[in-house]
Symmetry: D2
Subunit: 470 residues, 4 copies
């Protein structure tokens, strides 16, 4: 692929070897490797409804509650194996399913052929077993204004031309896109529900990550300077995060890869189709990372010379938190409904409740992990791994770091705890896929206040009471 | 039935009309009425695997995740309709399923015929559509001692004789038994897992509620004096709670109704079979009551002259709490496993996590309801309904209670809020079916600390660290 | 005094002996008794700035941080001794201080003689050592409307006539007034800050509790029916709550007892003067009740046969909660300022922060107490004390209630826990002295967002960013 | 001073200019600068009891509740001005006061002259206005073993020789020492309470930071690689943290600077003297940083184009958290007692309760700040400042980052939020000065369970119930 990924002001020639991206590549590689293993293949693969053969679940249509449950489990598993997010596969997976349903609706209601296009593209993508990133979030500019009220119309990604052959040209950006650097292709969604007159923003398509006119600039993340260092201060080689800013400078998308091009009435539906499974499955993500945190905290207790049993109450609370986001993901899955296109859409209320938990419980889980692990791990408060090798004083540091384990093991365990709770491993799930305030708005819309008032009135035989006007 | 239920030192001649029990009877009656209604019958009835005809779900074998999910929904529905607990059906339902599996195991492993007995009894019970209470909790005496270490061997219910015809005679008590007064029969379970030498306590059977030698003394509950008054200070006529102390004075149980008689090895299994579905479904209970609380709080806001929209943040949090216990119940259901006897056993870890939520979230929900509803509802701080009728000053009270509604409606709404949060409607779910500390012990046993340590070690390539001995 | 207190539709001839009021009278009597005891007299008495002799602190001017701190401690002490609220002294105390400052301001700015009136009245009241209730809360009617917009102008207490001799006539009500039945006199405050044209509502005065035209109807509280029973189901004889609805049917107040009569500009100040010390000292109240809850929970653990050490984590959290509301009261006290009238006004921000804690932490404290104490105490789930005496089965109940203590002691301890957490002892502190939402509005007004933005901009050398208009 | 500070394996020649330390130096410099300013001098300076002249409060004896309150305020102020910790002055301040009391006790009880020594040293230190770090924490090794049970006796700092002239030689380490690099001298305390036979560890002294044999290796902190970069990705130039590992290779301390040398009985007292004021004042620290977080979050809201009023509920909760830790520090101060040496010791129970809050509330405050600020700030998810200057795409990034402010201001504001919540500004207060579990142990020891049981028994007239033996 054409090198078009930058970080720290420089072009990354090869994402698989460059220190800023190689760990994230390795994490994504594990999604392929694990699919080959007997113990994981039922979770990571599925028989394709399009091809009749076994394919990666990441490229499948979620056709039932069981499929959706497997999705939640897959997220948990991959966080278990990589310690963090493999967004370069999972957001794309979600995007496919969202647009599978939305294109079906458009074709049936408008007579378009979008669904045929996505079907043809997907069949091939399954065969190639591509890594597919998904791109939802627009820069948006001033949050108090709609796209066309902005000083600059490019603040949300838009279609600047529709070509005669049905292709489109797009300009703008998608930001904080997980795993773009690791992906073969990027699936673009409309960033929100658009209104009449905003059709230029209602677009969806898929392009190669190295499409002409597309530039990816990677965001920093906490302590990412350590990626560029030798030593173990970034202690995890098996996983990592990238979140790119995708700059579209009049990128051309050929017709067969365009899945929405102005049909603004369907943009909200596309977003809602995206949100429900995303906010369900993300409960598996934070549970999976929470599992590793529980393990890291218990390990750190031992490295400090203490039995993890001392911290039973805290470890139980961590488990409660993990199982809650996981369980709510399962609940949303099982209470879902089948869309006529064959996509299973989880229950929106339960999914959004889970988003609220995902935005709060992991903070408690991290606090508990730091509490168990002690001051050395709270902020990774120990010298660098270079210092531990210093001929002048490295042996002294090793001596004084020793406790329930040798000094280096304890140092690495502390770094892992730091990585998970205040370092590079923290995936940014609070706002990923939308803010908790957005989730609360949806819960409010879905909460059946009037029905509940009726229940209350019935049990106590109460008259109706009108809502005050003001 | 023979009158054998007492409260306030007096015999209740007819539970259906006596003010101490009639509301609870009415609540239980709704389980039968609703089963006839089109909108509820799918939840409240099921085709019997024994009879091939439609029966009450309360007397069914839970044979699949779907059945277990319907159970969770049924609990939520019945709290919606009665405002509180209908324990005189649901605990018995749980007990049947627990012993269905345990008797199956005993018959297969010991060659007994208990499973045949329970099958025969159940088939008939389904036909009669009985209301069946379940009895788990023993008095236990000094919690630091086992049953035979107590000064008095009767502190847990025990078998004092085994008769030649296979019947048994039992002595002791079961305490805090929900809905016994409303039930036709009572299904008794062993109260805990017993050890060798404690066989006399490992007993299970079913008896009529008016069996000779059995006396039921009802516990008080908050503000239960109001049951005996005229007026609306107990504002709910459609539901109510009874929790009886069942005193067994050498009660004889015929052979065909005995399902365990000394097989102590199976007592823990029976309890675990009971706990998992109970702690799953109870999430539906507190969600169902939370729905009514949300409605009552919103109604009270209106009665105060305020739109419920003012309290959106709080109502959303109440919804989050309700959906969490409900959702975790669904999650435990869907992650369950089929016992060879045909009983579906929910996932124990998720069920116990839910128990922890059930012991905490409703307290926040109640606090939020009181917060929205204002000082008048917080502790029901308004004069009695007799006072509102006083010829001397009743009109003045009505005048000053008026706000967004007339005074009496506001007074009743405040009473409902009080009833739900600090009054007769509070069902005691924190310890019902076992304490949250017990649930935490189970979570600790089920949490995979070693597996999580392995995950942590793998992602950061860390050496093993031994647990300190002390 | 003239009997003018009613409950359950009936006149209470003698509040000191009637079961509905005698426990509350006893609680208030303890404020007098304890003042005589060496161990408490420094907290309960102070040298009067008016009389130069030792008087009850409840009738004193709070003249310094030390005095305010002693107030907080006094509240904690009295909850320790009575288990609940003695509002018939403490609200009046707060009211005196509020109006001491407000009358001073009025006299200095308007040339009135209100301050002289309150001084003369107080000097005499100190000599008589009266019990003085305080009355703040108006019925208010529809919360979305101001007093004169209501259908009925009486929804807030108002002055309907000003007499030529300077006396006034008032009509309306004050509601949920703690301790009125136990008080000799009632100190009335304006219920909120009034605006121009609302002068008739801006009134303050003091009257005997049996003033002609004044009727007191007592509110119910949870389980208050037990007051009327024999036995120990209301387990506390040393304290109790009354909260009266005071109906003013054209009550005449002589000039020398009128402290505000139309000066609406000063009504908000009076309320703010009231709020700051009230919301500080109430932290002592809930801490004091929390102390008793901690003791009751530990006792109940022992009565169950368990060491309270098993529950160390929970007891520590209860202590954290108690010390937090107590400590925040101290903090608000020490950060206060002296009003020119000689009244010490605690810091409003810290006082209102404490109100938020008072509206939340006790709910956790109660939950923890119920958690420790077990199912029998959670909702007081045991038969009535009449049942425990039944000749038919009382001995059996006593037998089965026995555990770490005899049955009756355990039953009483459970009743105490119930009384404290879901029964008559619960004082309604969430909305007492104003709602937590009101406190949050004040915190918002007092929070220095702009100053904090400046701090943030300074440390990172950031440009100013304007607030969006909408 | 002799360069003896290392980081990343290299010697720092000049801490005032080296990027790894210059921000922390600048933060500490502000403690001197602000002391000159009229608005701050009352907080930052005090009249010396030793010199009779105005000195830095950081070198004063805390002689009253007022002094202790000023200490709490000073911490809050310095976090306001630097955004983070200036540990190189405040821990030393605490250490002086701790040993002022402990040496007084030793001199009075043992006839030593330690108090004279510390007095003489302090008088001079006040004159020089030195920056003084404090060193408490030992490496400790295996936490399950006491110092002499460790494989290596050096795991806690110890005296390896006592010289004839009264000087001592020490070996070992002190770890995670805040501000050592910025300090002129380091005040060393015993790390815990020692027992008989452990006298070699019971040592206290003060030495220059560049004493022969002393090496300081700086710990990393999150994102500290950015210190070494150009640009604004570490957005704060006015403050910073260093936490050093101090390696003592047989360091000689002259007699006049030795304040404890083997008197193990006094080591626990020294630690307790240290803990109470430290855990009180740290409430000011986290409040001060919380103020900046509130400002940064509100600023970020504006930079996103939203009014901070949208987030009122969250900002109020942040204020509640800030004022709680601040207020509890004040409360512990005001409830303190005067030690005969003239040192005011805050109340231990309230101080430890505050430590529990300090270990929990800031995590909520950070979460709320991230919630308000949006995804870009949650993990600082935007390209590096080098990227923003890229000639290839820098203008595009600036364009797309623009919202309620220009792109660079928004980027910097996001970096500030990241710095405060998941970056270099996070000071590690959870374990600083001891763990929250340690604080809970102290609260448990100080909680008056027996007294509370007595209160409970008294109000309900309950018999004594013995604690079970097991």
């Amino acid at each position: 692929m054409r090198p078009n990924v930058y970080k720290f002001g420089e072009l990354i020639e090869d994402v698989t070897t460059h220190p800023a991206t190689r760990r994230a590549v390795e994490g994504h590689a594990q999604t392929f490797d694990a699919a080959q293993k007997d113990e994981y293949k039922d979770i990571l693969t599925i028989t394709s409804s399009l091809r009749g053969e076994r394919i990666s679940r990441y490229l499948s249509i979620i056709g039932s509650a069981e499929d959706m449950i497997a999705n939640v489990k897959m997220k948990r598993l991959m966080f278990n194996l990589t310690g963090t997010c493999t967004g370069g596969r999972c957001v794309g997976f979600n995007a496919i399913n969202s647009m599978w349903a939305a294109t079906y609706d458009m074709d049936h209601e408008l007579g378009t052929d979008y669904h045929e296009r996505i079907r043809a593209w997907l069949k091939e993508a399954q065969h190639e077993d591509i890594a597919l990133a998904g791109a939802l979030t627009d820069p948006k500019g001033d949050r108090s204004k709609r796209p066309l009220e902005q000083n600059d119309p490019d603040m949300s990604l838009r279609m600047v031309a529709k070509e005669t052959d049905g292709g489109i040209v797009v300009r703008g950006a998608k930001v904080m896109i997980a795993g773009a650097a690791e992906a073969n292709e990027v699936f673009v969604l409309p960033g929100t529900g658009y209104k009449e007159g905003e059709g230029e923003y209602a677009i969806s398509f898929v392009i190669p990550r190295d499409a002409p006119g597309l530039t990816v600039v990677e965001a920093r993340h906490p302590s990412d300077g350590r990626d560029m260092e030798a030593g173990f201060d970034n202690p995890v080689e098996l996983g990592g995060i990238t979140q790119g800013y995708l700059l579209f400078q009049d990128v051309r998308v050929p017709k067969e890869r365009v899945f929405m091009a102005g049909e603004w009435k369907y943009s909200l539906r596309a977003v809602l189709n995206f949100i429900a499974p995303y906010r369900s499955a993300i409960g598996g993500c934070v549970a999976g990372q929470g599992d590793v945190m529980g393990g890291a905290a218990a390990l750190m207790a031992r490295a400090n010379g203490l039995s993890e049993k001392v911290f039973r109450e805290k470890l139980v609370q961590m488990t409660v938190n993990n199982e809650t986001t996981f369980g709510m993901g399962l609940a949303a899955s099982v209470m879902g409904k089948l869309h006529p296109s064959g996509v299973w859409i989880p229950d929106a209320k339960l999914a959004n409740v889970n988003k609220v938990h995902v935005a709060t419980l992991p903070y408690e889980t991290k606090r508990l992990a730091q509490d168990i692990a002690g001051g050395i791990a709270e902020t990774g408060c120990l010298p660098s791994s270079q210092d531990l090798q210093s001929p002048l004083y490295g042996d002294l540091l090793q001596k004084y770091l020793k406790a329930g384990s040798d000094g280096e093991t304890r140092a690495k365990a502390a770094r892992l705890l730091e990585w998970l709770t205040i370092g590079e491993g923290v995936p940014g799930c609070m706002h990923g896929g939308g803010s908790p305030d957005g989730a609360k708005l949806m819960i409010n819309a879905l909460a059946e206040i009037e029905a509940n008032i009726k229940l209350a009135r019935r049990v106590a035989n109460l008259k109706e009471v009108p809502t005050p006007e003001k």
